[in-house]
Symmetry: C3
Subunit: 137 residues, 3 copies
């Protein structure tokens, strides 16, 4: 199976869901491409994946610190670790150029080691043409 996921949301829990599903699919032999756009794209700015001013203060009704503690206790990986695993498992990341232009974000602001390619919606569509599973998160 091949899955493409549009990561439009920048919500902490939604980005985690994208990465958990992505890693699960890769682990079971699938192919996965994440297309980060709009609020999701902002999570690829250095230091923003789980921290920074953009992060949600509440997660499942818990404060972020409490959440981190419970995640650790339950061996749930942090978003950074999930992303590292995603790349190590062969996952592919496209960063949306339109969002970068709209927000005045340059490549030097980005966590570049996570990004395979910068592209527009046409690149997403091309990837999706050969995918048999598609999600929008």
């Amino acid at each position: 199976m091949k899955m493409t996921i549009v990561v439009h949301s920048g919500d902490f829990d939604k980005v985690m869901s994208a990465l958990i599903i992505g890693n699960g699919t890769l682990s079971m032999g699938g192919e996965v491409t994440l297309y980060f756009t709009f609020w999701g794209l902002q999570r690829l700015v250095r230091g923003e994946l789980s921290g920074g001013p953009l992060s949600k203060m509440h997660f499942l009704g818990l404060g972020k610190r409490m959440m981190r503690k419970r995640m650790k206790r339950n061996n749930v990986a942090t978003p950074e670790r999930l992303m590292e695993d995603f790349k190590a498992l062969g996952g592919r990341v496209i960063a949306c150029e339109m969002t970068m232009e709209l927000l005045g974000i340059s490549k030097s602001d980005m966590e570049e080691r996570w990004i395979d390619v910068y592209g527009a919606v046409g690149m997403y569509v091309k990837e999706t043409e050969t995918a048999d599973k598609t999600l929008f998160i």
Copy 2:
């Protein structure tokens, strides 16, 4: 057709959309699996599907009581009824174990008659491998 839907959101209107699409697909001969996770999982706690402290106070700009009234007048089923129909039509429900562990929810807290199986993302991926339609809600 076989559809899998990740129910990540716990918003009243989103859960309703998931169930309406699920029931529509089942009614037309399709197969549907719902994977409840994060906020969506919390809706499977007893009494939380449309009531309880987690419910949104506003729905399409209307109060919840007004919404219920209009739904009734227009013969739109409640979420509980939609879920009963979903099960009666042969729909399948997976409850995300990771979310339960993170939030300290046990099986005895859950509306167990709606749940076919408790599982992790691997179970979702396995179900999705044979699906030709996939949604994330």
Copy 3:
């Protein structure tokens, strides 16, 4: 490829994402059907696609006026223009009748030139049966 997109959200950025992905797919020879329901349906009321009382005041942390300015400077089309392009490229729009009934919206309130057909979830499922890509936005 054939894609169906449920436009459940009425958020300015989400509707834009739906149209950008839709237009990208149509431009590359695909077929696309948008099913507007719940908050998304409200965007098809005359004057509501990007303006009106329903519009979000903030977009990516910018005010709406600033956003419009940056979009113009970066040659990003407005939602209205994206919708016109979507129709010109052969995209198909279904408006959810259940939402209209629930909210007491009549056809005369709608931007009728954008709507191909009024229908319920069964029409969405029928369209989706022959689709190989599905999104819920």
